[in-house]
Amino acid sequence: MDKLKLPKLAIAGAIFYVIVQILILTGVLNGYFVVIINRSLIFVILAATLNLINGITGQFSLGHMGFAAVGAYVSGTLTTLVFKLSPHVFTDNLIFIAAIIIGGIGAAAVGFLIGFPSLRLKGDYLAIVTLGFGEIIRTILNNIAYVGGPRGLLGIPKFSNFTVIFLFTFFTIVLLRNLVQSSHGRAMLSIRENELASELAGVDTTKYKVLGFVVGAFFAGLAGGLLCHLLQIAHPTQYGFYASALILIMVYAGGMGSLTGSIIAAFSLTFLTEGLRVGIDWLRDSVGIPIGTEWTMVVYALLLILIMLFRTEGLMGMRESKILIIEEKHV
């Protein structure tokens, strides 16, 4: 392979970035659409990392938003309450990046604390523990007055813009891809395929299950930090079961084990959410049908049922787009 040839993933990323940036600058995409694209990118991180835990390592986590909450509140507290940063000061932007990463590390630490005792559990039991964990995080945040309690953490400076979010998302995907297509990634995949055989091929299965949780939690923490600096608020209800379930649907819809699938599903479902919101508002205000936005969840539930009935493996199954596959030289 020619050494000067840029990796396909870098080219694809650059094309996406340039096109969106041009559309923003020419005013084709208004602020509303930019927010949706930013949200989509953040959900790409969340879906891809949940996929690492559920799809690639074969565990079952229902509390992914709990990790995002830790990242959001840690970084939000640092930028808003501790350092009182402003997006207009250049050095503050660098501190913001550091705060996001500290948030990720905080989430990873929580991931380790949760993962270590609970990964002896399997299947349904693990699902219940992680579901409980998500709710515990939400309840704790609800009761800490310093970060606003049930009112939420308000007045977070708007540091997240398209460029920052894009770069974080892009590098998350690159790093996850590198991990999955390495010796460590294959160890994780083998646990999903057959845990006993994996153990008897010399894989320390407990270690790799915990590692999946820790890495997944770290990136979910980054996503949480980016999200609260985009919306300028961190509120406990944003990180509840509803949001965790949405990410889970993205992982299943895209395909368990396929990062490509998670990217496509995160975009499609984020746009669908907005589309449904507009549609429901129209039905209520113009047609006069008395329904609220909570009906989006009904649509998701139906979507999940349809996926399970007609395309169990999701959109991509376990396949990856060629862009995300690292070519090996010694074939």
């Binding site: 294959r186 995949l189 083998s190 057959n194 055989a197 008897l200 091929a201």
Partner: protein, 259 residues
């Protein structure tokens, strides 16, 4: 005969009140092909599960190259040098043939998680080295044409070879084969016998196998232990053991022997 690779001393295992394995004492000498035979439910697979650390024996010692491995986690035992295959194949079916085998080389790699994230030169070098080694193994197992195929698309005979290749990739000193000839036709069984002998000779691996297939056992094993209901009923050379009255009773029933 040289020193024993595996030495089992007074090993017993109970499932509740059921004696699955009762007071086993035996040695597997280095470099032999050792067979463990017995009717269904006689405790063969339990013995394998005890040696590989899936179960912990209720009593007794299991010495591997002189070290007691009782209580060690299965993956540690594999890393010490005991590999196994399964009676019902346990293949990573969604992974390619190369990846199936590479998983078993994983524990020997030193690259940390960060060099994997960043694909540092040291990581790339190690990955290439592992891949080359695994390709060698694939060639030896005559699976070259299948290297990049997804494992679930392979026919049964090739899956058996893949499982052997995966076990060999852990560089074992002792390999446990759980009914390797199960479901094979005479031709495949013949090939398998050659393969097992080759593995022993080329990789210097001691073989400890469970088998029902008498022709296979008498054809390949150099030493055989016969068990029934968790008790040893005979031990020795295969040609002597198959003539043992107790063995015939266990397999065919008392009446058949009397007639």
């Amino acid at each position: 005969m040289s020193a024993p690779v595996l030495s089992i001393q007074n090993m017993s295992h109970y499932f509740g009140g059921l004696k699955a394995v009762s007071d086993f004492t035996f040695e597997v000498p280095e470099g032999v092909i050792y067979g463990l035979i017995g009717p269904n439910g006689s405790g063969k697979t339990t013995t394998f599960n005890l040696v590989t650390g899936i179960y912990t024996p209720t009593q007794g010692k299991i010495l591997f190259e002189g070290d007691d491995i009782v209580g060690m986690k299965p993956f540690k035992i594999v890393q010490k040098g005991i590999a196994r295959t399964f009676q019902n194949l346990r293949i990573f079916s969604a992974l390619s043939v190369v990846d199936n085998i590479r998983v078993a080389r994983h524990f020997t790699t030193k690259s940390g998680i960060f060099s994997s994230f960043l694909r540092l030169p040291s990581f790339l070098k190690e990955e290439a080295a592992v891949r080359d080694e695994v390709m060698e193994l694939i060639k030896l197992m005559n699976l070259e044409h299948r290297a990049n195929d997804i494992a679930k698309n392979l026919p049964y005979g090739e899956l058996r070879r893949l499982e052997v290749a995966r076990a060999l990739a852990t560089k074992p000193k002792l390999m446990l084969l759980d009914e390797p000839a199960a479901g094979m036709n005479p031709k495949e069984t013949e090939d398998l016998m050659k393969l097992v002998r080759r593995v022993r000779d080329e990789f210097k691996v001691t073989i400890f196998l469970i088998e029902h297939h008498m022709k296979f056992v008498t054809g390949i094993c150099e030493r055989v232990k016969v068990i029934d209901f968790g008790e040893t009923i005979a031990e020795g050379k295969p040609e002597d053991v198959v003539k043992d009255v107790k063995v015939l009773e266990a397999y065919l029933g008392r009446k058949a022997v009397v007639c």
